[in-house]
Amino acid sequence: MSAAVETAEARTQKLEGLGTKRKRVEDARFTQGKGHYVDDMKLPGMLFGDLVRSPYGHARIKSIKTDAAKALPGVKAVLTAADLKPLKLHYMPTLAGDVQAVLADEKVLFQGQEVAFVVAENRYIAADAADLIEVEYEELPAIVDPNKSMAADAPVLRDDLAGKTEGAHGKRKHANLIFTWEVGDADGTARALASAEVVAKELIVYQRVHPCPLETCGCVASMDKVNGQLTVWGTFQAPHAVRTVASLISGIPEHKIRIISPDIGGGFGNKVGVYPGYLCAIVASIVLGVPVKWVEDRMENLIATAFARDYHMTGEIAATKDGRITALRCHVLADHGAFDACADPTKYPAGFFSICTGSYDIPVAHLSVDGVYTNKAPGGVAYRCSFRVTEASYFIERMMDVLARRLGVDPAEIRRRNFIKKEQFPYQSALGWEYDSGDYHTALDKALAAVDYAGLREEQRKNRDAFARGQTRKLTGIGVSFFTEIVGAGPIKNCDILGLGMFDSCEIRVHPTGSAIARLGTISQGQGHATTFAQILASEIGIPAANITVEEGDTDTAPYGLGTYGSRSTPVAGAATAMAGRKIRAKAQMIAAYLLEVHDDDLEWDVDRFRVKGAPERFKTMAELAFAAYNKVPPGMEPGLEAVSYYDPPNMTYPFGAYVCVVDIDVDTGVTDIRRFYALDDCGTRINPMIIEGQVHGGLTEALGIAMGQEIAYDEYGNVKNGSLLDFFLPTAVETPNWETDYTTTPSPHHPIGAKGVGESPNVGGVSAFSNAVNDAFAHLGLTHTPMPHDHWRVWKTAQRLGLTR
């Protein structure tokens, strides 16, 4: 047999398993324009929906006139709250235990809020009809600053919650308070702060931004009235959860609902939640009995779908004179907008923000978060991050620099002095997390050596001298950030959404000729799951990745899972894939033992086959065993070769990394030039280095956008000031620098293959590296903190404030 003479190395190569830079199987269709996104769908008789939205931030609806719209030829239906009320569908539950208006009932609470839904023969007629709907409003005073939400005389925003003193997370002390959440040791932290040698305090605001995937949100809902079957194709990052929620809301039995996520044009957290447009399309399809498509435009996406961040964080960090941190206190004022539609595990109203002790061994800490309503769009999603980890990382990494300035210690050195040491893992943080593994000193040292940090600092010193002598008008900033993430939610004991435990799943069928299909509860939005999950499986079961189809996103065929966000696909579904693969291999081993007439224990695994220990010429390949599974199984064994694994992770994973950013700033124009950006990531075992690098490039570019120019800004009336790509900053190829990537590998001890997840790391670590670099450029002039985004105008203002005028 020819296979017998092939070396183990050659056979391993053929598998294209773990660690190989396998080219993506997705690319053939995307590069030829044959992707299948939701707006590409065309079904017989399909109608188009369009939404009428509020022009006001806060107003009472006095009347809605729909006659002219209904009379327009081609219009099939108009829905308002009055139509949804009898069905009890005018409000829907949010993922955060609140409710959200599907179509505004009596009041509008943010600009862009959904007021009416029109359905017509095509999108042009639908838009015409939307224009013909006359809504009379009485404008009310708006709250746009969350600091004013809980004022004694603040207008009450949520009339629908009148008399409701209990929120989803305890007592509501004010009509505009959603929750107060506390973690840690308040007294111990207060004592440590009171007796500290040094305390550094700073207000750090992480501005409201938007994930802005290139494809907006949308769906096609199709009610088959004959069979009572509802099918919805849509931009869903969590299709199974959407099915359950749709069933609970609509009363349609769950087996009669099929949710399909086709190709998704980027998600970044924007496509986790359920939006009113989806529900309107579903109701319209049920009413009219034909498919209804609703796809929002970019302005709708930016002003009405889930924003991210808007965290106002006050930090106090206590330390000894030589820079050892003794305590950390943080208070967050969280602006959740008009409805609490945050996507967090139920028990964590501020997500995993309590990872805010970062990579540091901080003995005592306390965190309190007040979530408040304002007249802004709902959301608060994890934009390329695991539930508020980006906010936490930005907070602690800015605070570390603030402390370093205060003490006159180098920012890299202050980090090194306070790192959790390698031998302290698994490490219990003061705010309750168990960090699985890490080697921070090695990572930082490697990063500093790679960029010649000492040389950069020396260059910066010379440059500052030259600046002082008037020989240059440019300042150089060096930003160091060291982040620790917490990703891969479950475990179920801690993490659920609407009572659904945050496990994930994989089901594998091996076909008789030795190829296979794997189906997962997750859904790729560009991460390349079809490529990488096949690699995990190839290494586990010895079938070439090229012979394994990976399928996700169809709730009728895929096993139940909680979906893709929070970097959970690899930590949870990736683990399920490995575990299901091991079940396949265990059964194959029994079949091999039977065929080779030896005991199971006399066999050993060899890349793609089982061989007899001590007699390597006696073996059965996985392809042979697959065929045997369908005709020659041991007596008493069921035929077939299938397995399913529902994986409840024992812990989350804790990826980390060291980033260094060098920026040159022209103080007369505020123009910033990212001269260099070095990113070292440790995501544990690396499945596909090519894809990891691509994820890092992309995440850093999103971080660049956030740090250097992005903000969803409101005026005092609640008008969004930048609701299109004309003035909402997304980096182009020109502003984006070349990224230098690097890595260390510290496997997760509890994950079956040691992988930790990487997609969000660069966003989590990147933002603070940029921001620290900008702050660092002015540090010698007394600046400790200047808020993001660091666009040219703001940077120029900072320079002016520091007296750097000509």
Binding site: G33, P213, L214, Q525, G526, G698, T701, T736
Partner: protein, 164 residues
């Protein structure tokens, strides 16, 4: 609304249709002709997902009426591979260099890069970056896109030299 008689050549194929004057070119291509490669990302001509090649120029088909394309020669991503099915070097290079992730910007990006290389067969990295600055990508950070375009340019130039 009175419809207007349109004639154009799309991916080498003669097309005739009646279209409302207000119909956008992107909707005509996607919904009337079924060419769903070009996408709609922003509606305001900033993102370039809808980029097609029209009479030898890159245009953003979301900001142009179909009637304005009357008589035009249009090339979309679907027409880039040769009729025998051999992929264009740009299509190969984007895969080879991991120049795409979610794939939504990819058709517009490749179509834009195609015109860029027609106009400048040896672009520098800065010229590539400037040349695609009207096309936004939210996934890749552009680095591998620039690499892919550079690699495709080299391959196309080598093929041209070999043919001469």
């Amino acid at each position: 609304m009175a419809k207007i008689h349109l004639k154009m050549t799309v991916n080498g194929r003669a097309v005739e249709a009646l279209a409302e004057p207000r119909l956008l070119l992107i909707h005509f291509l996607r919904e009337e002709l079924g060419l769903t490669g070009p996408h709609i990302g922003c509606d305001t001509s900033h993102c370039g997902a809808c980029t097609v090649d029209l009479n030898g120029q890159s245009v953003k088909s979301c900001t142009m009426f179909a009637v304005q394309a009357n008589g035009a020669q249009i090339l979309t991503i679907e027409g880039l591979a040769d009729p025998g099915g051999t992929l264009h070097p740009l299509q190969e290079a984007f895969r080879e260099h991991h120049g795409l992730q979610c794939g939504f910007c990819t058709p517009g990006m490749i179509t834009r890069a195609y015109r860029l290389l027609q106009e400048n067969p040896n672009p520098s990295e800065a010229e590539i970056r400037m040349g695609i600055s009207g096309n936004l990508c939210r996934c890749t950070g552009y680095q591998n896109i620039a690499k892919a375009i550079h690699a495709a340019a080299e391959r196309m130039n080598a093929a041209k030299e070999a043919a001469e």
